[in-house]
Amino acid sequence: MGRRRLRGHRGDAVGALPEAIAALSQTLPAGPSPEIFRRAKFDRPEAAPALWQLLFRVLSPLPADGASASPASPTSPALEAQVHLVKSALRSQGYPRRALAQLPEDGSQGSRELLLALAWLLARGPLLEQLLAQTRVRLGDEIPLCECEALASAGPLPPRQEADGPVDIRHLQWLMGKLRFQWRNLITSQQEQCALLGKIHSYTRGCHSDRSLGHLSVAETELFRDPEGGRQLLQRLESENARLEAALVWWRQELVFWKWMAGGWGPEWTAVQRASQEAVGRELATLQRAWEQGEALAQTHGPRRLVKRDAGASGGPGLRAAELIGVLRSRETCLEAVLGRLQTRCWQELTRLAGARPGLLWILPPGR
C-alpha cells in the first residue's frame, strides 16, 4: 500500500526505492523488511524494536570466533540492554542528535530517529564493507598482522573479580613473570603452526584451481577430511555471496535512498537545507582528507591470505613476506628504542631517589 502511494507521488525513480532498501536489508545482519523502513520514516512505534535490534547487531562487537554470526543468537540480550548499548555506542561515535539519547529505554518508540541513526552510520563511512569484512568467510590461512584484528576479535571483557585488598609487590613480579612465560609459549606455538602450514602448503601444491594461489589452505584441505564441515562452509559461502550481490545492488541504487531520506521530514529541515548547500564543498574536502590520512603502514593492515611460492617465481599481486619482515624489523627496532629509553629514564629516576639513603651499594645484575 505504501509502495503504491510513494510511486504515485514521485514517479519512476522511487519504484527503485523498495528494491534498494531490500538490498540494503539483505546486506545488513538482521536487516528488517522494507516495510519497516517505510513505517520508521513515519515514526510508527511498531517499527522501533526491529530497528533497535538492527542497530545493536551493527554496533556490537563480534563474538570471539567471528564466524558464528547467526541472526538469532541465543545469547543476544534483552531489548532494554540492546537499547542501552546502542545509545552509548552511538554517543561515543559522535552521533550528533540529542533526540536519540532521550528515547525511552523500553524500545517502544523512536523508529524515525533510529532510521536517521542508521542513515548516519551509512553515510559516515564504509559501514557495509566493514560489516561484511568482519564476517567474511576465510578460505585461506592468515596470520594476524595488526592489532586491529586481535582487538576486534577479543569481544567484550568478561567482568573480573578484582583484587580488593593491598597486594604485595612480589605478586606483581610474579604476574610479570607469568606474562613473559606466556609470550614464550605463544611464540613457540606460533613457530609450530608456521611449520605445519608450510608443510600443508607444500603438500598441496598444484591442487588449487586458482593458479595465482597454487596450493590449498588448511580450510580447503579440511574439506577433504570433513565433508560435513565442507557442506557448512559451502552454505556460508553461498549466503555470503548472496549478501555481496545484495550490497552491489544497493550501491547501484543508493542514490534513491538518499533522496528519500532527504525529503519529507518536516519544517525543521528546510532552513537547514539552504545552509548546507554552501558547506558541501568544504565537507567533501574534509572527508577526503580523513580517508587519506591513513597510516604509512596501511598495507600491513587487514588479513592476508598466506600463499607459498618459490622465491624465484616472478611477480604478481601480493605482499612479499620479505618486505613485511623488513617493515616489522624497523618497527621492532623503533619499539625497542622506546622501551630502552623508558627503562633508562626509570633507572635515572631510581638513582636519584636512592640518594635518599646513602651508605648502600647497589649492585646491578649482570648483562645490563
Binding site: 556490537s60 562487537p61 563480534l62 555506542a89 550528533p96 540529542r98 548516519w120 553515510a123 564493507e129 592468515e142 594476524p144 569481544g155 571483557l157 583484587a163 580488593d164 593491598p166 597486594v167 609487590i169 606483581l172 604476574l175 606474562l179 609459549n185 611464540i187 613457530q191 611449520a195 605445519l196 608450510g198 608443510k199 600443508i200 603438500y203 598441496t204 598444484g206 591442487c207 584451481s209 559451502l234 559461502l237 555471496n241 550481490e245 552491489l248 538518499w258 531520506m261 548546507s276 558541501v280 580517508w291 591513513g294 596501511a298 592476508r304 591470505r305 598466506l306 607459498k308 618459490d310 613476506a321 620479505a322 619482515i325 622501551l339 623508558l342 633507572w347 639513603r357 651508605g359 648483562g367
Partner: protein, 470 residues
C-alpha cells in the same frame, strides 16, 4: 605492601595483558589442532603425542627416517608393480563389467589391491613409475585401499609394512559407511571414496569420505575411467587433490564479488551518492541539539593514536639527525633543514593536541563503556582505499614465515611491554618517593621497582650495606 587502589589498578592491568595473551594462545591452539590433525593423515610417523615435534624449520631436508634404504626401495618397487597390476586388473574389470572380482592382497609381497590407487605413497614417488604412480607427500607411508567387492567390506591390510609401521597406534577406522560405499561404487561416475587405512597396523592414510550429494572429488587414480583428477607428475612431494565443483564455483564467485567492491568505488552514481551523503551528514550536525565540535570519543582516540605514532617517529628521526656526523657543509645544511621541518610538524601536532584536549574538555566525552569496543566496529581505518578482497601474502619458505610470525609477535609484545612500563612508572614512582627511605620496606620496594621497571622483571639487583671498616 602496596596501597589498595594502586594494587587494584596494577593487578587489573597485568591481568588484562595476561588475558590478551591467553586469548591469542587459545586461537593459536585451535588452528594448531586442525593443522596437526590434517598432517597426521599425511605423516603418520609424526609422533602420536599431542605436542608435535619442534617446528621443522628446514623442511627442504627430509628427516632422516624418510631417506629410503635399499630394502625400502625394493619394497617400493614391489608395491609399484602391484599397483600397476591393479590398474590392469581394474581396466579389465570395467571392460568385462564384472564388479565383484576381488583383488586379493598378498601379505608378503607388499602388494595392494586398488580399485583406485590413490595412496599417497612414498613408494611410487621414489620408484618413479608412470601410470599408476601417485606422488605422495614426503613421509607418507604406503597404505592400502580396500578392494571393491570384498564381501564384508572390510579393509584389507597390507601385511608387509610392519617395518614402517609406527607401533600399534590405533587408527580411527572412520565411520562404517565409508566401507560400504567403497564396495558399492564402480559405476562410471566419479569415484566415491575409499579409505586408505590399515586396520591393525596403525597407519592411517588419507581419508576421502564418500558423499554422493557432496559432489565427490577425490582422486588421482591412474587409468581409472572415473577419476576426475589427473596425475601430478611434476611435484614429487605433493599429492593432487581436486576440490569439489560446487565449492570452486562458490569460491570463485566469492572472490569475484569481493573484487567488485573496490571497482564500484569510482563511478558517477557513486559521486552523486557521496554528495547526497555529505549533505545528509551536514544536516544531521546542524539539527543536533548539542553544542560542541562534534568529535566523538572514538575519533579523538583514533587521532590521538596517530599523533602518538607521529611523536615517536618524529623523535626517532630527530635523534637520527642529531647523532649524524655531517662530513661537509652540504650535509650539515641538509641536517638543519630536516630539523627545522621536524620542528614545524611537531608544532602543528602540538596545536592539534591542544585542540583535541579543548574539544574533549568542552564536550565531556564519555569513553565507550566496555573499554575495547570502539575498535570492533571500526577496524583498520587505514584500509579504506585498498581492496576489500583478501590480499595475498607471499612467502617462500617455512623459515621466512616463521621469522615473519615471530617478528609480528615480538612487535605486539613490545607494544604491550611499553604500555605496561608506562603504567607501572606512573603508579610505582610516587610510592617510592613518598615512602620513608629509612623504613624497612623501602629497600624491598626499590629493588622490586628496579627489577620491574628497568629489567623487565627479568633480573634483580643486590643491595649491600656499605659498612665502613672500623
Amino acid at each position: 605492601m602496596l596501597p589498595a587502589d594502586c594494587s587494584r589498578r596494577l593487578v587489573a592491568e597485568l591481568r588484562d595483558a595476561l588475558d590478551a595473551c591467553a586469548e591469542r594462545q587459545r586461537q593459536l591452539e585451535r588452528s594448531l589442532r586442525v593443522s596437526r590433525r590434517l598432517l597426521r593423515t599425511w605423516e603418520p610417523e609424526t609422533p602420536a603425542a599431542e605436542p608435535a615435534p619442534g617446528p621443522e624449520t628446514n623442511e627442504e631436508v627430509p628427516p632422516p627416517a624418510c631417506t629410503p634404504s635399499r630394502q625400502e626401495l625394493k619394497e617400493l618397487e614391489l608395491l609399484t608393480q602391484a599397483l600397476e597390476k591393479a590398474v590392469r586388473v581394474r581396466k579389465s574389470m570395467s571392460k568385462a563389467g564384472e564388479r565383484h572380482k576381488a583383488l586379493s592382497l598378498k601379505s608378503g609381497d607388499a602388494a595392494t589391491s586398488a580399485s583406485t590407487a590413490s595412496a599417497p605413497s612414498r613408494a611410487s614417488s621414489q620408484a618413479g613409475s608412470q601410470a599408476s604412480e601417485t606422488k605422495p607427500p614426503r613421509g607418507a607411508h604406503q597404505t592400502t585401499v580396500p578392494a571393491r567387492g570384498l564381501p564384508e567390506g572390510r579393509l584389507p591390510s597390507v601385511g608387509d609394512r610392519t617395518r614402517m609401521a609406527r607401533g600399534a597406534r590405533a587408527t580411527k577406522p572412520g565411520p562404517g559407511l565409508r566401507d560400504q560405499q567403497i564396495t558399492a561404487s564402480a559405476a562410471p561416475q566419479a569415484p566415491e571414496a575409499f579409505t586408505l587405512k590399515e586396520k591393525g597396523q596403525g597407519r592411517p592414510g588419507l581419508c576421502w569420505l564418500p558423499q554422493t550429494s557432496w559432489k565427490p572429488y577425490c582422486l588421482f587414480a591412474a587409468g581409472s575411467p572415473q577419476s576426475e583428477a589427473t596425475l601430478s607428475t611434476g611435484f614429487p612431494d605433493s599429492i593432487l587433490l581436486k576440490l569439489p565443483m560446487a565449492y570452486r564455483k562458490a569460491a570463485s564467485q566469492n572472490s569475484r564479488l569481493w573484487a567488485q567492491f573496490s571497482s564500484t568505488q569510482t563511478s558517477d552514481s557513486r559521486d552523486a551518492a557521496t554528495t547526497a551523503k555529505t549533505q545528509f551528514l551536514q544536516k544531521m550536525k546542524m539539527t543536533s541539539g548539542w553544542p560542541g565540535s562534534g568529535l566523538s570519543a572514538a575519533e579523538v582516540e583514533a587521532e590521538v593514536g596517530l599523533l602518538r605514532k607521529a611523536c615517536s617517529l618524529l623523535r626517532w628521526r630527530m635523534e637520527e639527525e642529531l647523532s649524524a656526523d655531517p662530513a661537509d657543509w652540504m650535509q650539515e645544511y641538509h641536517c638543519l633543514l630536516t630539523l627545522e621541518g621536524l620542528q614545524a610538524i611537531t608544532g602543528r601536532c602540538l596545536h592539534r593536541v591542544q585542540e583535541l584536549r579543548a574539544a574533549v574538555a568542552g564536550q565531556q566525552l564519555k569513553p565507550w563503556p566496555e573499554g575495547r569496543c570502539p575498535r570492533a566496529s571500526m577496524p583498520c581505518e587505514g584500509r579504506t582505499d585498498s581492496s576489500w578482497s583478501p590480499q595475498l601474502l607471499l612467502y617462500s619458505s617455512t623459515k621466512e614465515l616463521q621469522t615473519l610470525a615471530a617478528l609480528r609477535l615480538r612487535v605486539a609484545m613490545l607494544e604491550q611491554q611499553i604500555h605496561l612500563e608506562k603504567v607501572l612508572m606512573a603508579e610505582l614512582f610516587p610510592l617510592v618517593s613518598t615512602r620513608d627511605p629509612q623504613g624497612p620496606s623501602w629497600l624491598v620496594l626499590c629493588r622490586a621497582v628496579h627489577s620491574l621497571l628497568c629489567e623487565g622483571g627479568e633480573r634483580f639487583l643486590t643491595i649491600l650495606r656499605d659498612e665502613p671498616a672500623d
